[in-house]
Amino acid sequence: MSFAERMLHIDRRIIFLLIGLCTLIPLLYPVGLAIKVSPEVKSVYDYIESLPEGSVFLLSLDFDPASKPELYPQAVALLHHAFKKNLRVIGMTLWLPGTGMASEVVSRVAREEGKVSGKDYVFLGWSPGGGSVIINMGQDLYKAFPTDYNNQPTAELPVLKGVQSLRDVNYVISLAAGSTGIETWYVFGKDKYKFELGGGCTGVIAPGLYPLLRSGQINGLIGGLRGAAEYEVLIGKKGKAVAGMDAQSATHFAIILLVILCNVFYLLIRTSKNRAEQNRS
């Protein structure tokens, strides 16, 4: 077995250890490299910035705990921004397993910003059906969600005064971990009820949303933990996402290094094999 072959067959648990350390060390000893803001994220920020006080902002937290590390910081940053701008905030989710988490993040950020449930914000909870929920909200929000998550009748909440349906909502952002999310909100929501739509999503589905971004079907896109970090930079409130960026840098470079090593060894093996075959003939 040649050196290259032996190197390629090392126990993979050594690599597991390497990647674990690459994540752990920067988390314990952060460097704090500068984060550049991309135009996709900036346009979401600019749009919220342009909304007048009292505008209605709907945040749909369409993800489950599996995507919490990526999308939770996005939700925190967006909610801080919306509450700072004194927008009326409606929170909800189309993903059943995410309900508890969504409820927690909305009420926690609201508490930090000194906002009151029912008056400044409302969390509607979860409802089954995906697109059907959006259709119903587009017709009559009070009927789609007769009560909010705390069992308060929605029709009587001051925060929802004059918000009969999705037509009265100014901006919707869906934080999506799958296809029930941004796409659903576009097809069954924006396309018909004409609110502006923005998106936040996990890294896995982000590349697939660029056609919608280019055609203006969504006005901005916050992609993964990096997107969340950019948003934290924009609102000047550095949180978990910015803290994770150093670890992200380290792991990416570790992977790049591993890929390069893999291919170097692979080429070495191939050339030596070719040479051996030539010698034989």
């Binding site: 067959h9 396309d191 018909k192 589905i205």
Partner: protein
Amino acid sequence: MNAERRMMNAWQEARGERLWEKIRLLALTLPLVCLSALAATTGIAAAQQALAPPQNLRVIDTPSDAGGGLTVLWSKADYDTPNVRYQILMLVSSTTVDCHDKAPDVCYQLLMDEGAAKRIEKRMVADFPANSHYVRDVKWPWWTRVDRPDVHQFNLKSGRGLEMKNGTPYAVTVAVVNGTERVEAPPVQAIPEPNWFNWNQINNLAIVVIFGFVVLGSIQAAKRKEIFLRRIPGLDAVDEAIGRATELGKPILYLTGAGDMSEPSTVAAAVILGRVAKRVASYETELMVPHRDPIVMAVCQEITKQSYLEAGKPDAFKEDSNFFITTDQFSYTAAVDGIMLRKQPAANFFMGSYFAESLLLTETGASTGAIQIAGTDSDHQMPFFVTTCDYTLIGEELYAASAYLSREPVQLGTLRGQDIGKACILVALGLGTALATASVLLHADVSLVLDLVKDWK
């Protein structure tokens, strides 16, 4: 125009109670009665100044909408410059006449009083520069345009601050303002009504109908005669891999993915398994097919048996070549990885739909030095298959390979139908770009064609 409207309304109301009809007519004419005085005064003002009132004012129900909308049209004028402004005014009663659950005669009286008291005011609903809001600016395709492109058009829509009820007449006028000068056209009335068809979307409907005929027609055609399908290069790779496994005398591992039988990718995986099994049978190589879904397993068992029969080796068929492991994602993965390490198959096939487990499977397979062939429509896993497998059938290639092998008319016909659809889209893209470019270079209007492939609301 106005008379027509009124006649139409009168006709519509002919079935209703006579008194209601009277109220309605009154409501129709009421603003006009009041306005005749107002119009007279503005008319005098206009005579003293140079500004002519907007000409040819028409108000119609907005076509193709859900109601609650009116469209205002008036001719272009010499003073259509950014400095001059148009104002859209709606005539509203300052107090509301609530006829809800009142006897018709009471309501009639209320309306009469309203008119007598002249409690009617003009509310400004829009104000914009005179060189804007032409028919050509409205986002409607050419086939629903209500007038020539250079006519002014403004769409009024019911919303907050401007409530418009269906079936209720509203009077609208347009004023033109230049500095201190201001003239108004005589007001015109119209009734917003909901419509039964959205003509803007006729292109969408046309696509549905045409594409429907193409797909169903292709399926019919495929039942009658052979349909040509290009050879899928991935299938050569499949044969090659089986050949190598035979040379080495090692088994072959075939996975059908995470989906159940309702997913097209699983069906395709089962069809391709038939082909693989047939080859394997003729070479008498060992085949292992671990499953995650009992129903898929049952189907695959049948297919494998059939293939061995067709290959003329029914005795070589082993009942336990298809076996069930577990439905749990990672337990299944761990078990399959174990099989790969123990049995060292010479070729691994990954067909069907996959989730996060794909990487764990293909990585282990690659480390054993097996030839790996993948075919999946799970696009989020595609990058991992491409980098860890020797050949990957990407997305629709998987369906095509399955149709190529099965020769089933429905599959073949669908594929052909989609191909025709793609060809049309390719033509639309090419032609559209050429026309759009020409329109910039030659300053020509190409909306006649381009509007057909746009999404209208």
